[in-house]
């Protein structure tokens, strides 16, 4: 029971910490098995991955490659790792993400849609949503495919409701925050005005 509590606290603290700067980056990792006498020119494989930093991306590359080919990090080499940046981060896109995740009872496939300006932002939204809605942590998620979906082909109502060029809605609950964290106080003299 004490162990369970400790694990709970650990997960809690990780969540708080990661909210501040978990930023998923997209990497292109290229690697191959080391050349041997029997095979002087092993096939080169390239993968596009998402992770928080390069070290983790390389590790994940070997994780996937081990599942597909008979090669490990100890008898392979990474030839290149490059970060892939968003071409146009000022344009909003609908991203469709196909993923495979491990739940408590088995593996499942899923398709999720997100609206965001960058693919990395959508991937981060996906990880957050999987964690909150299905309690699936990031190591248990494998991204099968991502794509930019044109508005006509979106499947989910929650993304389709924003496909309106004359979109208009009021902000119903507007709590005014202090402009800096420094000006935050525990007690206030009067109740806040929540109207816009």
């Amino acid at each position: 029971m004490i162990e369970g509590l400790f694990v709970g606290l650990l997960i809690g603290s990780i969540c708080v910490f990661s909210f501040l700067f978990v930023q998923y980056h997209q990497y292109q990792v290229v690697g191959r098995a080391l050349p041997t006498e029997s095979d002087g020119h092993p096939k080169i494989y390239r993968m596009k991955l998402w992770n928080t930093n390069e070290v983790r991306a390389k590790s994940k590359f070997w994780y996937f490659l081990r599942k597909l080919k008979k090669v490990k990090k100890s008898n392979g080499q990474i030839l290149a790792i490059n970060e892939i940046f968003e071409k146009n981060p000022t344009k909003i896109n609908n991203y469709g993400i196909w993923l495979r995740y491990q739940s408590r009872t088995g593996y499942h496939n899923m398709y999720k849609e997100f609206r965001d300006t960058t693919l990395n932002g959508a991937v981060e939204q996906m990880y957050s949503e999987m964690a909150s809605r299905h309690r699936v942590r990031s190591p248990c998620i494998q991204i099968i495919k991502t794509a930019t979906i044109p508005a006509k082909l979106c499947k989910r109502e929650s993304t389709k409701q924003f496909h309106n060029s004359k979109i208009k809605f009021p902000l119903v609950f507007k709590k005014v925050r202090p402009p800096t964290r420094k000006l935050k106080t525990t007690y206030k003299a009067s109740r806040p005005n929540l109207f816009v």
Binding site: I92, D116, S165, I167, L171, R177, P179, V196
Partner: protein
């Protein structure tokens, strides 16, 4: 009762938290329920959470996600800057900024001006009292 300020394309908003605090921006597109794509003549187009925005009464006429040039032209046409600086909200912010940037000599001058104004008001009051008495 009823909402007057809506999140819509072309709504002018004030940033009330973060690095660009105090800036007037235009909502150029809506990402989802919580975020908007926001643009101003002197900043790169970026996405902001609605929690960081306070909507104003000013709205300009633009299409969804316009070019920067088109946006600047539309802002000039609607005279966003003028409307803002003449509105009571805008004027209050300008006064706040001025007060925060006063140096000691300026504060001294303000004190003298306040005393003079108070004196004139009291003179007028005394005159009116004498007439009514």
């Amino acid at each position: 009762m009823g909402f007057k300020r809506y999140v819509e394309i072309g709504r002018v908003a004030l940033i009330n938290y973060g690095k660009d605090y105090g800036k007037l921006v235009v909502i150029v597109d809506v990402v989802d329920q919580n975020r908007a794509l926001v643009d101003a003549p002197d900043m790169v187009r970026s996405q902001l959470n609605f929690k960081r925005l306070t909507l104003t009464d000013i709205k300009i006429d633009i299409n969804r996600a316009p070019r920067k040039k088109t946006l600047i032209e539309a802002m000039e046409k609607a005279d966003v800057k003028g409307k803002w600086e003449n509105s009571s909200w805008g004027r209050k912010l300008i006064v706040q900024k001025k007060r925060a940037s006063l140096n000691d000599f300026d504060r001294f001058k303000v004190m003298l001006a306040k005393i003079k104004r108070g004196g004139l008001v009291r003179q007028e009051l005394a005159k009116l009292k004498k007439e009514s008495a």
